[in-house]
Symmetry: C2
Subunit: 417 residues, 2 copies
């Protein structure tokens, strides 16, 4: 690679394996003799000129990043305005790149981040600074265009399927005298990919989950209750997996439909408690519910090996693309075979990915809208295969690393954005 430094940043909601991508980026840079900086808290770290020198980390620390969840350099939820609306912001970014001789920028995130990387890849030319921008895919939502799947998704899918299988055994054994209906809420505001992955927990008719509620299907309380009643009558108990994004026929999120809490305040979301109350009230059945929230996307201890391998592969490929002088591309996962499952990494132009959203095909959902089809299983199943457990210490806890995150000295005036 030419002279200059590579800057890596993490963006948006973190995952169980985004640090595996980060580790692959740093390790590949080290092999290529390129200095890798990281931005603290994503693109904000660039704006604020808060850069981290990853060369100060030991090889062991970077190795340990592979099995550490969360975002080691900090991430952010921050969407840049358009270039027309705030050109100064882009000039600041290029200014920071220039001040620190950053020649490659790798942005690890979802749709928005691909868009940011794309814009930066163009503005560099306008402003006369040669910066190559590579998007690196990551999102538990699995909604990036082009790529077959998104690093981060396979692990949350595995967590979800395993958790459903486990709690179903619990519910089944107690149903005679205790809980008959169990509702588990999963992430997915716009697309039901995570909810769909719960379907992998069951293999036969009457296996849990008995109902999956997708954001793609309008929530119909009467139909839902009828199916729960029917399932309890036939199986003795019922496990429901509900996506946080389900909406009622009026188009309102079920989780936000006017709940108030113990202190009389509007309640923070929660589809699961709302559904649980509905079942208890209308069917007079004992209900329990769970809402794992961040636990599901940070559960590195139950990460999918497939997902882990892909997270590493996109990190490595991104640096290689940079080394080859490519610009405005993203390494994506291409599935070359279902059985045996095979995949490879390919470069795709960022403008084919930025700001697009991959929806779940209707063919993945059963006709009644409460389950997944064989086509969905074929797609989902390989993504949760294999285990990639972290090492455990003698204290029984996973050995996650905290980096030193040594700051690079600032060279510019403070950002006033």
């Amino acid at each position: 690679m030419e002279n200059g430094k590579l800057l890596y940043a993490q963006s948006g909601g973190v995952t169980a394996v985004i640090n595996a991508t980060a580790a692959a980026v740093v390790e590949t840079c080290r092999r290529q003799k390129v200095t890798a900086y990281a931005a603290r808290n994503g693109i904000l770290g660039v704006l604020r000129e808060e850069l981290i020198d990853t060369t100060k980390e030991s090889p062991a620390a970077i190795r340990a990043l592979r099995h550490t969840p969360g975002g080691a350099f900090g991430s952010c939820r921050y969407k840049l305005k358009s270039i027309d609306a705030d050109r100064a912001q882009y000039e600041r970014l290029i200014g920071v790149f220039r001040a620190h001789d950053i020649r490659w920028f790798l942005y690890n995130g979802g749709n928005d981040s691909a868009d940011t990387a794309l814009k930066l890849s163009r503005i560099g030319k306008t402003l006369g600074y040669d910066i190559r921008c590579i998007g690196v895919p990551k999102t538990v939502d699995n909604d990036l265009a082009v790529t077959d799947c998104c690093p981060g998704f396979g692990s949350v899918a595995k967590y979800t399927a395993v958790s459903v299988r486990e709690c179903a055994l619990d519910v089944a054994s107690m149903a005679d005298t205790s809980t008959k209906v169990f509702v588990m809420e999963v992430m997915g505001r716009h697309a039901g990919w995570i909810a769909a992955s719960a379907g992998l927990a069951g293999e036969h008719r009457d296996d849990a989950p008995h109902l999956i509620l997708f954001p793609e299907i309008t929530f119909d309380a009467a139909k839902f209750l009828a199916r729960v009643r029917e399932t309890v009558a036939r199986v003795g108990w019922c496990v429901v997996v509900a996506s946080e994004g389900i909406k009622n026929p009026e188009g309102k999120f079920v989780s936000e439909a006017g709940t108030t809490d113990a202190f009389g305040h509007a309640q923070l979301g929660g589809v699961a408690p709302a559904l649980a109350s509905l079942v208890r009230e209308k069917l007079k059945l004992k209900v329990h519910w769970a809402l794992p929230d961040y636990l599901q996307r940070s559960a590195r201890h139950i990460a999918s090996k497939t997902d882990f391998d892909q997270a590493v592969a996109v990190g490595k490929a991104a640096v290689e693309y940079a080394a080859e002088g490519r610009n405005a591309v993203m390494p994506v996962i291409v599935r070359t075979s279902d059985s045996p499952y095979r995949w490879k990494i390919e470069a795709t132009a960022l403008d084919k990915i930025a700001n697009r959203e991959k929806k779940m095909p209707r063919s993945y959902l059963t006709r009644d809208g409460f389950g997944i089809t064989a086509v969905a299983r074929n797609y989902l199943s390989p993504l949760i295969r294999g285990e990639a457990p972290p090492p455990y210490g003698r204290n029984g806890l996973p050995e996650y690393v905290a980096l030193k995150n040594v700051a690079v000295s600032k060279k510019l005036p403070a950002w006033d954005g």
Copy 2:
């Protein structure tokens, strides 16, 4: 062992390792050439004469029970009345024992189950039928008297500590622009043992969890909010672990203080959403919350090896006590050394355990009531040590077993109780 059969039953809330105890019971019986029956759904299966012939299961199936969560024979929440209040019920139990030549009854549960086993051990003599009753400890609540800890607790403790460590990394990496406060609710209506185990996730000051709310300490909203604010100011974010059993100064469960939901119904419990709303309302901070519910006690995939070993050991010991002709005893765990951690199994009279409750010592909680002390760490730490993962199939899911559960032919008229 003499002629006759042994009957094993599971009672109360199931755990990640109660089936490891069941497997040890069945395997030890096989070695001792004793026929082991199991009751379907605990003591109710005895009353209903719904017995399962475990000799119909393959050695591989029983072996797989060791790593399968839930209760393989079904459990129940059912408290027998006193002998004076319902003598007929006890006569029925003895009648079923007599009809099937049951000479040993092993009841795997908590305080109530120990009480049931104790009563049965006495009534046999009164009714002229020689039945030996052995209690077998199990409860995620860790509240059984005498025993140093309870099989089932170590695994939920490990799940809790690992989950807190993982989601803390998530929150830390996003706190700059997103969630600043994360609340995780754990089980424990009367005692804060599970909440305390969350404390193992942190090792240094400012590590998560920053606050633990115990049922032993009255919830003081002002003090809580002040501490959350202080933590966010100092650390940048704050992780709270709250026991479901915390009460306000009026003695009401915080989870039940008049919540209504999206459908206008009284809300099912939920300390976490109540606390989250409080923080959002009073401190204007972005909050997320999680409530893993049954996921925490069925998470066999992250079971503690210590817990697993102890679950096996009590199952084995219970059969051995039966073979020795002992009655009205329970195998309990005795800690013989903290460092290195060592333990052994001893028999204790059931009347020292039945209907008693082990409270968490005040010395386990820090003076401010928001954390655990070094004494608590010494006690808790060994219980989560070691991993005992289940085998995984090629599909990426744990290979849990479903027994055939072949019914024993009934010999008595139906129970009309």
